[in-house]
Every structure is written in C-alpha cells, then in structure tokens.
C-alpha cells in the first residue's frame, strides 16, 4: 500500500485537509480506496463511522494483506468497507 501513495517517509506523512474533513476524504486524498484500506485507527483507536478529523489527529491505515491478527482485524475493521459490503 505504501507504493500507492506519494510523498511519505517510511509510511509516515502529513496531510493537509480542509476544516470538517472526514476519514473517507483523507483516504481518497491519498489515492486509496475503502477496499484496499482494511484496518483503520484514529489516534490508535477504532472508528465506527466516517468520523470528522481534527487538526493533529493521527490516522493509521493498513491494507487487507496485513490484517491477520483476528482480534485486531475485528476491532479495527474499516467501517466504510463494511458498509460497502452490506450494500452489495
């Protein structure tokens, strides 16, 4: 997934977004999608909806390939991906 994103240093980068931007926008701004991003953490915590981001928030994004610890995968499952699956 790191290969798909420009401008990062060993997987870390800063993103400038407008006021009131949500998690989904951050993902799309990086050129990723909700299927690729399987595990999401905001400030190290799980999110249950497309939350609004505050300045200084830390987002951790991980692809499907890496989500092999079951407790982690269940706890931090990308709710946006799940919504897509439910709708299909």
């Amino acid at each position: 997934m790191r290969k798909k994103v420009q401008g990062h240093n060993q997987g870390e980068m800063t993103l400038n977004l407008s006021e009131g931007a949500r998690v989904s926008e951050a993902i799309l701004a990086l050129g990723l999608d909700f299927d690729t991003v399987r595990v999401i953490m905001k400030n190290g915590r799980a999110i249950h909806s497309d939350e609004v981001l505050q300045a200084g928030d830390r987002l951790g994004l991980f692809p499907r390939e890496l989500a092999y610890n079951t407790i982690t995968a269940i706890s931090f499952f990308n709710p946006l991906a799940r919504k897509t699956e439910d709708q299909s």
Binding site: R2, Q10, G11, V39, M41, N43, G44, R45, A46, H48, G60, F62, P63, R64, E65, L66, A67, Y68, N69, T70, I71, T72, A73, I74, S75, F76, F77, P79
Partner: protein, 576 residues
C-alpha cells in the same frame, strides 16, 4: 490402521498399539490433551516419572490438504503446572501421519544421566543410547544425526536447555531444509522431554504413504476449495508470505498495544526498525528468502531466511513474538541482534517469548539497561553455557522476577504474556487470564463461523463483547489445533465461509463422517473441557484466571487505559 506408539523409558521398550475407543476421532491437541488428562496424575511432579510427553499429528495429517502438517506436543507443563499443548510446524507432523502413527506417548523415566534417541520407521521403533549427543545444541545434534540417519528423516530434539530441564525449554523440529528452527515453544515441554532422558526422535517416513481416505474424490474436491481460499485471501497470499508474522509490529504499535520495556508503554519509538517491512527490505537486499514454508504442503509460506550483513545464514525469519519479546519489550531496535538471539534460542532450545519477557524483567531489575542488545546476547549465551545466571534466565519470567525482586512480572499461571498488551486489547487480556494454557495468545487466535455475529463491533479499549470474543476464539482454536491445521488458515476462514465448510468436508471425506460446522464448535468445547478438568484436578481454581494486578492499576500510554474486566466476567469465559 493408525496406531499409538508407546515408549517406556524405564524399560526402554517401544510398542505399537491400537487406538483405544476413547481416543478415536481425535488428533493433534485434542488427542494430546485427552491422553494427558486420562493418564497423567494432575498433581504429579512435572519432571517426575508420572508425567507423560505426548506428540500427535492432526486429524488431517498426511493428506493433500494444504497447511495440515502441524504437530502437537503435550504433557503437564513444568512451567505452569497446568495441562499444556504446544504446537509446531516442520516435517514431523506429516511424517508421523505417513507412518500411520496418531500419537507417540513417552512415559516412565530412565536412570539418572541416561540419554536416548528414539528411531522410528515404517512399523518399527527402537530406543538407542544417545551419549554422543549429550550437551549439544539443536543444530549440532541434527548435524550428527544426519551423519548417521541421512536426510530422509525429520528430526525432533532438545538442546542444552531441555537436557538441563529448564522451564523455558522448547522441543525443536526440523524444517524442509533440515534446520531445527520450528519449535513447540511454550510451557517448558523441552524440560519434560529432558526429564524422560529423550534427546531426539528420528522419524523416517520411507515406505510410508498418504493417509487412507474414505472418499478420495470428495476429499480432493474439498481440498481444492480450501487451497483456493488460502490463495485468494490477501493475508495468506500477500501479507504473510511477503512480510512474515512480523508484519504485525507496525499495526500493533499503531494501536498502542505493543508492550514496550516490560509492559510499561504501548508504543515503541523503534518499531519501524524491527517491523516486517524492514525485515523484508533487509532480506531482499541481502539475497535472503522472504517467502519460505516451514512445512511441506504449506501454501502460505510466512517464514523466511534471515541473512546477516555478511550475507551468511543467521536464522529463519524471527516471528512477531520473538521480535517483540527481545525487541520492543527489551527496548531493543536492532534486527540483526534479534536474529542472532533467535538462532541461539533455536539452538539451546528455548521459548523466545518466555526468555525475552524474562530478559525484560531482568532489565527492570537492574541486570542490564533496557536497549542493551549486546548485553542481552551475552546473558543469553550463558543459558547455553549452563551458568547459574543462564539457568535463572532459562527458568522463565516468574523465576527471574523473584531473583531480581521485581514487582511487575507479566505472567499468568507462571507463563509470560505475549506481544499484545491486555490494557489496549482487552479481548486478549481475557484470553491470557482464562486460557487453560496460562498466558497464551494462540489459544484464542482463530475464529469460527459465528464470529462476525459477536455484537457487531468490538472496541478493544472497552469491556463489551470481549468475553464472548475470547470464548469463541478459544473454542475455534482448539478445533483447528485438533485438525492439525496451521492457525493462519483462520483468517481466510473468517472471510470466506466456504473455507470452514471445506475443512469439515475434508474431515468427513477422510473418516467417513457427517460432521457439520456446528460440530467444529462442539469439538473445540470438548477439548477445552478436558483441559479445564485436568487443571481443576491439578489444584487450579478461578483465582488463577487473573492478570497480575499492575495491569489493573497502571494506565498504559498512549491510551492510558487499564484492564478493567471484572473477575465475574472473566469467570464466564469458558462456560459453555
């Protein structure tokens, strides 16, 4: 016809016998636990003549089912005093399956100082003296045995740690390259093997064959569907083969659950340097192999080959738990040092989790500074040399805690906690506290078909749903361990419901049964009930199903949470 091989170390006789009715339908962990629970006095001294060492391949061993070659090793644990099953990859599972051996039961005890090797082939088994192997590490042991027995057999052995009956001693198994790099690590079963005077088991599959199948066509079709699930799933076909289990370092660190410097923080500043991404990068740069299967028939291939800066072989890829225990938990960020440590643990025959956690406790006790990689290597070398300090480290985390007067000792039932802090992944905390095995992460690792029905989302920082999650995972894992499957098939099983159906179909096709997926759950529960009953008879009670109190009192940065599930909630976990 599958048989049990009974090995009496007192009389040095090895005899094949039919499988009694009460043990039929079981394999792997299900069988080792059933035998230990039925035949071992739960109050016996674990290093004495009444304990038994049991090895068993799983129910799907010696078939073309992918990833079915795991082997279970069981007994009363010299470390925890509970029943114990430790699981390993390598060649032994498949080879025993091909020889039609469903279990090896090692009982009795030889005279003090006597050391033996067990040589097994098609319809034959004998115990021979092994004085030439005394005091050797696993690497030299296997090298010597290969001179005598060649490259056809798989080798099982103990290093110095097992010979000296240290409680963190492991049982080693050779991989496809005949290196002793796969271990039944947890719970000191290497010490049990040492107490039986058994240095090595040589398993020659020549003349053996694939297990007979009641319905070969149905089996083949189900095996194909199962393999497809593994190759379709991005975890088993992408993440694990590329980055190994160490891929978890960055994720768990981000979640604030990576125990750092003896469980004093949940994030480590050097995490990236020891991550799976870095492991892959170094390996590719040095010409090592990032995609390596530990056993024949594995199509995931999560292991790898680690080369040093001089491009010489150091060890197989250290696993996530090994990297964590000797890395972040010790404040160490040097992957080369960790790889050398991994090799020493493989050689002396030690549980890397137990010894790494022990080293961190020793650091907190002032033996070394956190982060002192060279110092850690030096102390570990002492285990192989048998010095008093080495024996202390090799006896595990709780003993080290006592010797150094440390108050923060992360163990449950005397076994060290693994690489997920229970204050930020509370479901793991429930598993650590309640598992029949002591603090164990693999006990509650896999999944069953009903896992996604667990109340929707389970927030790892909240208490809701954690007990149910842990219960379901522990049940499912017991079933996977009994089938002899690699635990990592669990993730495709979570996502692709047909994968679990395929497993059930294979069991039915092999044994002529009519199981359903509900039976998988029932099997898991049965195994856990057998184990719980043994522990109760051994003197354990609900008061032992608890985490050390500092997890309840000390908030863990960055989330600053504590473990706050009540004792009453914990006691609900293994009630079915």
């Amino acid at each position: 016809m599958f048989k049990i091989l009974r090995v009496d170390m007192t009389s040095q006789k090895a005899v094949f016998e039919d499988i009694p009715e009460k043990y039929q339908g079981l394999g792997g962990r299900g069988l080792t636990s059933a035998i230990v629970a039925a035949e071992v006095d739960p109050t016996c001294n674990a290093l004495g003549p009444l304990n038994k060492l049991v090895l068993s391949p799983g129910l799907l061993a010696a078939t073309n089912c992918a990833n079915s070659g795991r082997i279970s090793v069981g007994g009363k644990s010299p470390l925890t005093g509970t029943i114990k099953e430790a699981n390993s990859g390598g060649q032994a599972g498949q080879y025993l399956g091909r020889l039609g051996i469903q279990a090896i039961v090692v009982e009795g005890q030889p005279a003090a100082g006597k050391l033996f090797k067990l040589v097994i082939g098609k319809d034959k088994a004998e115990l021979l003296p092994a004085d030439e192997l005394k005091g050797l590490g696993n690497y030299d042991t296997v090298a010597k045995l290969r001179e005598a027995y060649g490259d056809k057999p798989g080798y099982c052995s103990i290093g110095q740690a097992g010979e000296w009956k240290l409680a963190a001693a492991s049982v080693a198994f050779t991989d496809k390259e005949l290196r002793p790099t796969r271990h039944a690590g947890r719970g000191g079963l290497g010490a049990l093997m040492g107490s039986k005077g058994l240095k090595a088991i040589i398993i020659d599959p020549t003349g053996g064959e694939l297990a007979p199948l009641k319905d070969p066509e149905a089996f083949k079709a189900a095996a194909k569907r199962f393999a497809k699930a593994l190759t379709d799933h991005p975890v088993t076909s992408g993440g694990l083969p590329t980055y190994g289990t160490d891929v978890l370092i960055n994720i768990i660190n981000e979640a604030g659950a990576l125990p750092t410097r003896n469980f004093s923080a949940g994030r480590f500043e050097g995490a990236e340097k020891v991550s799976g991404e870095t492991l892959n990068e170094i390996t590719v740069k040095r010409g090592g192999n990032p995609t390596h299967g530990c056993m024949a028939g594995c199509i995931i291939r999560c292991s790898g080959i680690y080369l040093g800066p001089d491009k010489a072989y150091v060890s197989k890829w250290p696993e996530y738990e090994t990297v964590w225990a000797w890395g972040p938990n010790c404040g160490i960020d040097d992957l080369d040092a960790i790889a050398r440590i991994d090799r020493m643990c493989d050689d002396f025959g030690l549980d890397t989790i137990e010894t790494g956690a022990a080293m961190a406790v020793a650091m907190e006790g002032g033996l070394l500074a956190f982060g002192d990689a060279r110092g850690a290597e030096k102390v570990l070398r002492e285990v192989g040399a048998g010095t008093p300090l080495g024996r202390v480290l090799g006896s595990g985390t709780a003993v080290v805690g006592k010797v150094f007067g440390v108050k923060r000792v992360p163990v449950v039932k005397n076994q060290a906690l693994p690489a997920y802090d229970p204050r930020s992944v509370k479901g793991m905390g429930v598993t650590y506290a309640t598992s029949t095995m002591g603090a164990d992460h693999t006990a509650g690792y896999a999944t069953g078909t009903n896992i996604m029905k667990v109340g929707g989302y389970v927030d790892p920082l909240k208490t809701d749903g954690q007990v149910e999650l842990s219960r379901n995972l522990q049940v499912a894992t017991a079933a996977v361990d009994t089938a002899g499957l690699c635990l990592f098939v669990a993730f495709p099983v979570l996502d692709i419901p047909d994968a679990l159906v395929a497993i059930v179909d294979m069991l039915n096709a092999k044994y002529g049964l009519s199981l359903t997926t509900d039976d998988v759950s029932a099997l898991g529960q049965k195994v856990l009930n057998i184990e719980r009953d043994f522990n109760i008879r051994a003197g354990f009670n609900p008061g032992d199903d608890r985490l050390p109190d500092f997890f309840r009192r000390e908030p863990l940065p960055p989330h600053n949470t504590v473990f706050d599930l009540s004792d009453g909630e914990l006691d609900q976990t293994l009630l079915f």
